[in-house]
């Protein structure tokens, strides 16, 4: 018998050594990915849940649809895609992608699992869904290029651990995030050596109309009716700005508590930029730390 859990904007069922994770959104009674989700974000969330209950990952096999670099940075879990010398038969964990927006993460390579149907699904409008899918398809095209200055692939990669795991610099009772270089005396700050608590408090928020959003969001912002950004403070002191996950219906207020989950931010020149987005922290959310990478 498995239990149904809400976790980082997904629904989970856990049974013995296996986990089933599913999108909470349905279309025509079948699970579909939310506006910011894909197999990579779902895989990261599933692995993070298993890590949070004590599972360890010496190796994992990922389907091609899951970005192994993002999984590695966000969870610290390596995969055969990153380690070509790994013996496939000796892989400890398997990620098996379903035909719809769901996947199993298991130590077994069985094709048959039994899970309780997760609770808490909601329907997505079909036309909204198809418009979002078309927008992402166009955005992910190699032809969708930058208009000029932008966050390059190397700059995105350099900041990925801070962006995906809240990796921070802790020294002398101070915590710095996002990472900085030299201090006021010209001394180099230490490399990131810790992580922020993955919960924060809303200090301000805004919703930009589609006309006011950056051009990177120009294909999706009109469909979403604008994009919502929160400015939050972590309990360690640093602040940050984050988009809201999956266009959830959320009217923020200063003082709200939020958690974070890995989601797609935007795509450019064929590369999807992933990062953390904010989710309101509700009583039904499972609350715990982002696992160590």
């Amino acid at each position: 018998m498995s239990e149904s859990i809400q976790w980082k904007g997904y629904l989970l069922s856990v049974s013995n050594d296996s986990l089933y994770i599913q999108s909470p959104f349905l279309s025509n009674d079948a699970p579909v990915y939310g506006p910011d989700s894909d197999a990579t974000t779902m895989g990261v969330a599933g692995i993070q849940y298993l890590q949070s209950i004590g599972a360890t990952f010496s190796s994992i096999h990922l389907p091609e649809s899951v970005d192994a670099f993002v999984v590695y940075v966000a969870t610290g879990v390596d995969s055969p895609l990153r380690n070509e010398h790994l013996d496939f038969d000796a892989v400890q964990w398997h990620v098996i992608e379903g035909e719809q927006a769901g996947m199993v993460i298991s130590q077994s390579d069985s094709e048959h699992f039994e899970f309780t149907e997760p609770l808490g699904v909601s329907s997505l409008d079909d036309s909204f869904l198809s418009e979002m899918e078309a927008a992402w398809d166009a955005e992910c095209s190699h032809l969708h290029v930058s208009q000029g200055a932008y966050v390059s692939q190397s700059q995105y990669s350099e900041g990925s651990s801070a962006r995906l795991t809240l990796a921070a610099q802790a020294f002398g009772g101070t915590t710095v995030w996002p990472p900085r270089q030299l201090d006021a005396s010209g001394a180099r700050l230490p490399s990131p050596n810790g992580q922020l608590d993955a919960k924060a408090t809303v200090e301000s928020w805004t919703k930009l109309s589609a006309a006011g959003a950056p051009s990177e969001f120009s294909l999706r912002a009109p469909i979403l009716g604008g994009i919502q950004t929160l400015l939050v403070r972590f309990k360690e002191g640093p602040r940050g700005v984050f988009l809201v996950c999956d266009d959830v219906e959320y009217a923020p207020a200063i003082g709200d508590s939020v958690q974070f989950a890995v989601r797609r931010i935007y795509a450019q020149e064929g590369l999807i930029r992933y990062g953390l987005k904010a989710l309101p922290l509700t009583e039904t959310s499972v609350q715990n730390e982002t696992p160590k990478a």
Partner: protein
């Protein structure tokens, strides 16, 4: 050593070289039909012709031109191209870039060039062509001056950044959107009389309060327009000023500051430390306080920016910018200080690189009494310009006066 050089060295040693504005001009801001060369030459021509006695652009020793080079059409060697088309061929020239504060810093660089004794006559100017781009390219360029890696990946352009500041100010200081509406109405009222303003229309409180939401809580009436425009001022060292005019406006001081680029990296998001540093430095060097200022051109790219600026510049105490606006302070000839007699960025317009020296053009004309009579600030002797880059990473403040520093 000739007499003039000797005189200058003596004054330099005593730290006494004063700098004056001897001429200033600008294009009308808005959807300008001309391109970069045409707009710049128009602004330069107006500045040259505003000099009371004969002025020859070949007399210029140095030129500093502020521009973001919006759209990237002339990203490199912008200044050389422009001076070539305004009679200043061969003059040492460079583009100055500090986002929306580009020409405020061009003005500061020009002032410093004269103060250093290396130049006697220096041009400071600015230019931006913003309305010849598609909406998508325009949105792209409007967001390149924040912390791209973090703010842009969180979906923020400047309307969003200033909206975060506004909501926090409301929360911390019990201010409200109505306070911002008062600022919008005032600046449109001032700009209505300005023939060079982009948006020459008055708006009612009700209309400004119910505008289209751009970035909650900021509406269309809280946001400046994207404008084309160019502006140009001519500075001269005191020992050559009388060759050109008997009616100079003195640059009594120049202050500047900077801060962390990303809003979330700053200790407070309801004040701009760069503005505070720039103002403190400028007031101190001019030997004045905020109470001595008769008119101020402040950087109101969004109405919340003016509310915060009134606090940072000392016209209102910290947290009381909303009250200051609500009580009707800042209206022309109705109180101690007139804020944005030109209409400000909100009404006059905001051609990014041209804004800083455009503010100086307004102060020059106000202090000389040559603006349209309907919008003349009466008995003004001290004016101030406040030019901010982005959401406050850079700021310059200049104090101008009818008289030199004592």
């Amino acid at each position: 050593m000739n007499n003039r050089l000797n005189q200058m060295l003596v004054r330099l040693r005593a730290g006494m070289v004063d700098v004056a504005v001897i001429g200033a001009g600008q294009t009308k801001y808005g959807n300008h039909p001309l391109g970069l060369k045409g707009m710049w030459s128009e602004a330069a021509e107006q500045a040259f012709s505003s000099v009371d006695h004969d002025f020859d652009p070949r007399q210029v020793d140095e030129a500093f031109i502020g521009s973001v080079a919006f759209g990237g059409g002339q990203l490199g060697n912008t200044a050389a191209l422009l001076t070539e088309h305004s009679g200043m061929e061969g003059v040492p020239v460079r583009r100055v870039e500090n986002a929306c504060a580009s020409s405020g810093f061009a003005l500061r660089d020009a002032w410093m060039a004269i103060k250093s004794g290396q130049a006697d006559i220096v041009v400071a100017g600015g230019i931006e062509k913003m309305n010849d781009l598609s909406p998508e390219r325009k949105r792209f360029w409007l967001g390149v001056s924040g912390d791209t890696e973090w703010e842009r990946l969180a979906g923020l352009t400047f309307p969003g950044t200033y909206a975060l500041m506004a909501r926090r100010h409301f929360h911390e200081h019990n201010s409200s959107h109505d306070d911002l509406v008062h600022i919008s109405v005032k600046n449109h009222m001032h700009g209505f009389e300005n023939q060079q303003a982009h948006l020459r229309k008055q708006v009612s409180f009700e209309k400004a309060a119910s505008g289209f939401m751009v970035a909650d809580p900021l509406t269309l009436y809280d946001c400046c327009p994207t404008s084309d425009g160019a502006s140009c001022v001519i500075l001269a060292a005191d020992h050559v000023v009388r060759q050109f005019t008997d009616d100079p406006v003195w640059v009594r001081s120049s202050g500047a500051g900077s801060d962390r680029l990303a809003l979330h990296d700053r200790p407070s998001i309801t004040q701009l430390v760069a503005s505070q540093k720039a103002a403190k430095s400028a007031y101190s060097a001019a030997g004045i306080t905020s109470r001595d200022v008769d008119l101020a051109e402040v950087h109101d790219c969004f109405t919340i920016a003016e509310m915060i600026a009134t606090e940072d510049l000392g016209f209102a105490t910290t947290g009381q910018g909303g009250h200051f606006a609500r009580e009707g302070h800042g209206i022309r000839n109705e109180g101690a200080v007139c804020i944005n007699p030109s209409g400000g960025l909100k009404s006059k317009g905001h051609p990014l690189g041209a804004t800083g020296t455009g503010q100086a053009v307004e102060v020059f004309k106000q202090l000389r009494g040559t603006v349209e009579s309907a919008r003349q600030v009466r008995d003004a002797t001290i004016g101030l310009t406040h030019n901010v880059g982005g959401s406050g990473a850079t700021c310059s403040v200049h104090v101008f006066g009818r008289e030199r520093n004592e």
